[in-house]
């Protein structure tokens, strides 16, 4: 059933978030440390085990894949609910600080990605727009 997939996803997310909160408290910071990351690793491990035992049929899979397909629309909703006015009217200092940190971050990506084994580029997307339409 589809709900099994959604429920598995929800349980992983809740467990990961809780773990992130506990880690934050243990470190003495008022923030969730890595909750989403823990949840992702949990989801990968749990579904891998379930699939190996044939306990995660396609219907359950659909419950996870639906939310994966909703990811971009959710990001669009998030963008439309951002406090953009404050970002734009924050004054030159806020804009410069934000821009500078972003530019430097972008610039260092190639150097950091070179540490360890080189990464394999993903296969090029075939006609991304039609692909997206199908997913949406």
């Amino acid at each position: 059933m589809v709900i099994y997939g959604v429920a598995a996803l929800a349980v992983c997310m809740l467990a990961g978030t809780l773990l992130g909160e506990l880690l934050g408290t243990a470190l003495g910071v008022d923030a969730n440390v890595g909750g989403v990351g823990f949840a992702m690793i949990l989801l990968i491990l749990v579904t891998h085990q379930l699939r190996r035992r044939d306990k995660f049929p396609e219907a359950s899979e659909q419950g996870v894949l639906f939310w994966s397909a909703m990811y971009i629309p959710i990001v669009v909703a998030m963008a439309s609910a951002q406090n953009v006015v404050k970002a734009v009217t924050g004054g030159p200092m806020a804009i410069l600080a934000g821009l500078g940190a972003t530019a430097l971050g972008f610039a260092v990506v190639p150097a950091m990605a070179r540490i360890g084994e080189p990464g394999e580029p993903l296969e090029p997307l075939t006609t991304p727009t039609s692909d997206e339409k199908q997913k949406a």
Binding site: V29, V33, L45, I72, S80, M93, L125
Partner: protein, 254 residues
Amino acid sequence: MDQFTSVMADNGLLVAFAVVGTLMLAGGWLSRKLTRGRLQGSAIAILLGLVLAYWGGTVTDGQHGLADFAALSGLSLMGGAMLRDFAIVSTAYGVDLKVIRRAGLSGGLSILLGVLLSFVVGAVVAALFGYTDARSLATIGAGAATYIVGPVTGTAVGASSDVIALSVAAGLVKSVVVMVGTPLIAPLIGLNNPKSAMAFGGLLGTTSGVAGGLAATDKRLVPYGAMTATFYTGVGCLLGPSLFYVVLRAIVGG
């Protein structure tokens, strides 16, 4: 009109689905007509969302962009942290854990370096604009990390509220620029594989920015970038009020 608004407000999430669906449709159409598919439809939809958020913010004087219109309040539920993180976690389905483990070292170092670089850039910019006290420098530097690290650090070290507000603004600028800029800059920085996506997530760190930027670049990179970005804010909140503030105080004295 009252009835219209109340029906819309009572069914906020459904209105959000309809609005976002329309934005995606418009984004896909503009992508085909104006850029011949070179700029992805989702990137244009995100950009449209940001522009509308700006317009909504100026009209309503609120803090949640388009969602400050009562009829569109569902956008903040659909785009809020709960569903966003839920969807981010779902993208990890089918990801090979081995790939993540192989890129673990570079991803982990990226988080530390990313937080550090943001702190330094933010503090230097603040110093250029005439701030001399360690409290303000630390808070604005932390804001250049993310708009959550800024206020957390500012509150912890006792910065003034206008400095905290500036730090939030700096973080918002970063998040918006990452959302819009990533698809444009991706080919230049080799952002086309899981490993560079993990480095990217760790270096930029703003969850909303990384989530939006990678979605607009290549959706398959999302789980890798999100994996490291999720640790960034925590590390920033850990280092901001402690190590970073202490070092700054040693440099500027007070």
